[in-house]
């Protein structure tokens, strides 16, 4: 079981076609990525480097311009495969539904019976700390809580692969660490494979089995780092020495890339050469 490939990108690139006078955008790749079943994998990289694009391609939402995508051994072609759940960077909670109806949305689509829906929704709400807000509308919640609604909506469907695109971007650093602990608990309890996209290096280091550091656009993996954490871990990792090493290593790789992404002139890929 360990090491079994759960999802795979092989030689994937994504070029957004030209629209309305804008030239085509080469957003991603070519990249290769193998997610092992049950692992926690994070992608870090400067903004605009193609992380969200990578997630869309993996989920089957966006076709790769080149290369192959596979989930559980089957090619992903133009459709979202069963068993994949995603939480997007933008707030995607539905403002016309209560929190509890938001969370039940997918289960109702699948025609799950009422009692089962109620049970699973109650569990997911409890898990995400939203029990007291079941009848509230998203507009009454903070951005971070709305993102938790979206996580709960995905979680109830019991996906085997969970894709999370900067889900804690709207939160302050402390709350983010706590949400990280929740995420680890979710990951352990569900046994799902998790792909987390984040721009926070400490978050990636604390949560992941492996971390892929991405170059400035078009995003490619500079290096993949194994953290070697035990499965049973939490934010107390932050105190250890290894944590500092890994975070430092990531920063070293991404510094030049982030500068390039901000337009400070360094060539993308330079960090790659420095590191190598």
């Amino acid at each position: 079981m360990a090491g079994e490939i759960h999802a795979r990108l092989s030689g994937v690139t994504r070029v957004y076609p030209a629209v309305a006078g804008n030239p085509p955008v080469h957003a991603l790749g070519p990249i290769d990525l193998e997610l092992r079943r049950g692992e926690f994998f994070s992608i870090v990289g400067p903004s605009g480097c193609g992380k969200s694009t990578c997630m869309d391609v993996l989920a089957g939402l966006s076709p790769p311009s080149e290369g192959e995508v596979a989930f559980e051994g089957k090619p992903v072609k133009g459709n979202v495969p069963d068993g994949v759940g995603a939480v997007f960077q933008e707030d995607a909670s539905f403002p016309w539904l209560t929190v509890s109806d938001n969370v039940a949305f997918g289960l109702r689509r699948q025609g799950v019976d009422g009692a089962e829906i109620a049970k699973r929704v109650a569990y997911a709400l409890g898990f995400m700390g939203l029990r007291d807000f079941a009848q509230a509308y998203p507009a009454q919640l903070s951005g971070g809580m709305r993102q938790r609604v979206c996580i709960a909506r995905t979680l109830v469907l019991q996906p085997r692969l969970i894709l999370l695109d900067e889900p804690f971007g709207a939160l302050d650093a402390q709350t983010r660490l706590l949400m990280g602990d929740e995420l680890l608990r979710l990951w352990r309890e569900t046994g799902a494979t998790v792909l987390l996209i984040t721009h926070a290096l400490d978050e990636a280091t604390m949560l992941s089995d492996r971390i892929g550091a991405m170059s400035a656009r078009p995003g490619r993996f500079l290096e993949t780092i194994e953290t070697g954490w035990p499965r049973d871990r939490d934010s107390s990792m932050l105190e250890g020495e290894t944590f500092g090493h890994i975070t430092g290593r990531l920063w070293q790789m991404l510094r030049a890339e982030s500068k390039a992404a901000m337009g400070y002139g360094s060539e993308p890929g330079q960090a790659d050469r420095e590191a190598g």
Binding site: V80, A86, F88, F94, W96, R109, Y137, A139
Partner: protein, 249 residues
Amino acid sequence: MTRLAWIRLAIVFAAFAVLEWLVQSGRISTHTMIPPTAMVTELWALLASGELTGDLVQTLSNVAIACLLSVTVGFATGAGVHAVPRLRRALDPFLTTYYAVPFFVFYPLLVFIFGMNNLPMIAIGFMFAVVAMIINTLNGLDKIPRVYAKVARMHQMGRLATALRVQIPAAMPNLFTGLKLSVAYSFIGVIAAEFILAPGGLGYAISFAYDNFDNETMYALMLFILVLVTAINMTLHSIEQRLLRRQGL
């Protein structure tokens, strides 16, 4: 009722009281205006006698038809135009200048085409209302965050399910505004047309009363239309506010 609602009611009553006093004390001649209390009693008599029923039914059914047509055609047109960005860009200037056209000037033409029946009035009400629905449908669809389409696809939803379960609910505040305006504009269109030339209806009844120096009937009918339209619009407005507030808009 909220405090604000009481204040509004008090303002309306005060206005009526002032008008009553102005007319009763002879500061406004009874040839020009009748006292509000007389309007109410006259209206009550009219309604009780059943004299008004025919006109009322005619106006309301014309408004209802115009409104129903403009909401369905407006929504369908808005959704269709939204799906073709090029067509959208081509039509935008027409949509934004549409209400600058005094299309009541076409009314005689419509009577000529359709004949002296309910169709020209329905047509005017429709023409007046449909574009408000188109514009609000476009606004509503424009405001749907792109990420909702991704969520729909993550739930393996097809086009129809996405439209019914995601796009229409997401656009609902604007669609409802379109509906509200369509109701108001249908009323304006139909009653104004009845005023100009019609075989019956509330607008026709008012103009008939005016031509025959029948102030009592004229003012009673004006009061009736005012109360009717205000009641309908306030109901729609409060539903709209609830929709908006729930979504934090």
